[in-house]
Each structure stands twice: as structure tokens, then as C-alpha cells.
Symmetry: C2
Subunit: 122 residues, 2 copies
């Protein structure tokens, strides 16, 4: 079973996060090791703190308007490994170890499992 990694942050680092009008920042989740992009979610200040303190990805669900501890019902948890912030502070990149079947509610490894269009050399 994966072990959670907690992340110690300074107030200065927390102050770098720029939340939108809804108090949210974008949270890209990437699988540690494979580099697969698993999903895009959103965090508010509280769920970001909870994620860092517990080592478990915890989002703010925009559709349900509630705290969403990823995998709490499905068992497909995401264990934090490291975090990066982007140059303008409105997006965070979380590298995680994915437990169980995968990130997607469909059972797929990544929420981005559907190809969009067909590439053709121009």
C-alpha cells in the first residue's frame, strides 16, 4: 500500500497561489514515474491545505460544491509525491502515486483516455 507524503509549505508559498473569482486554483494531477496526466481538478485554500497536510489529493468539487477526498468511496486514492506551482500562480501540478484501478470514474487509468480527433501530418 502506498505511503502518503506530506508537504511542508511556508506562508510565503501559500500566498503565491492566485485563486479565481470562485476561490479556486487549477490542479493538474500527473502520475509519478509514468508521467501520465491523470486528471484536472480544482482546489480552494482549504482543500489545498488538506492535500498538503494529509498527503492525499483533496479537491473542491465544482459540480457537487463540496470537499472531495479523491478515492474516499472508490478506493482509488491518490498519494502525493511532490507539488509545483506555475509562473503566474493560478495552477498547481501534483505528482502522485495512483492507487487502485485509476483516476477516472469509468475505471480508466486517466480521465484523458479519449482521443480527440485524428492526427495527420500536414
Amino acid at each position: 500500500m502506498p505511503v502518503g507524503t506530506t508537504i511542508a509549505v511556508t506562508q510565503e508559498e501559500l500566498d503565491k497561489v492566485r485563486y479565481d473569482d470562485h476561490g479556486l486554483a487549477a490542479a493538474i494531477v500527473q502520475e509519478h514515474g509514468t508521467g501520465d496526466v491523470l486528471m484536472l481538478g480544482y482546489v480552494n485554500a482549504d482543500t489545498l491545505r488538506q492535500t498538503l497536510e494529509t498527503g492525499r489529493m483533496t479537491f473542491w468539487s465544482r459540480s457537487r460544491q463540496e470537499v472531495w477526498v479523491k478515492g474516499e468511496t472508490s478506493g482509488d486514492r491518490m498519494y502525493l509525491r511532490e507539488v509545483h506551482i506555475d509562473c503566474d500562480g493560478d495552477a498547481l501540478l501534483f505528482k502522485v502515486e495512483q492507487e487502485g484501478r485509476g483516476a477516472c470514474h469509468t475505471g480508466d487509468h486517466s480521465c484523458f483516455h479519449t482521443p480527440f480527433g485524428a492526427p495527420s501530418e500536414s
Copy 2:
């Protein structure tokens, strides 16, 4: 010099994209080959179509409120390789070949070059 890959999409695929109140969908850009996440931007229906037709990443700049052909001034262009859509249609994953110095206006390879906090095994 990289060659652009155009992406042929059906109307059915285009209809899967769910835009927010501002008419935008999230656009994660990942480097083809390395798997590095380079940046998070946003596309509207027009810049998505332009991206697919030209094979060059083209965003809607939220800060400048204008079409943003990535690398048009810096020369650090992003050439499209493939696209995926996520399970609820509000985010797209673009795999690209990055030209020049990198994705970030700072000259860094990725906009996510700044570590956020310090991991510690719990």
C-alpha cells in the same frame, strides 16, 4: 524545424467540449516524448479550431483578452502531436513538440518549474 500536425475532428467531437461561463475550456500542454507538463492555458471554440487546423497551439489569453498564438513573438512555438479530451469534456490534453527555449516566458522549459513546498515521508 518541427512540422505541424493538423487534427481532423468531427462535429460530434467538437460538441463534446463543455465550455465554462466565459466560453473557455482548460488546455493542459504536455511535451510529447518527455511527458513533461509544460503549461496550463485556455481555449475557446475559435482558438481550439485554429489550433487543430494549424497544428500550432493557440490559446485565448484571459489576462489580455485576445487570441494568443503561442510563440508568435518569442519564437518558442508549440507544434501539435495529439489531443485527448477528459471524461466530462471541460479539459483537453494537448501533446506537443516544444520549439526554442521552452514554454515559459521566463525561459524555463516548463511553467511549472517552481517547487511548491518540501516533501517529507510521513
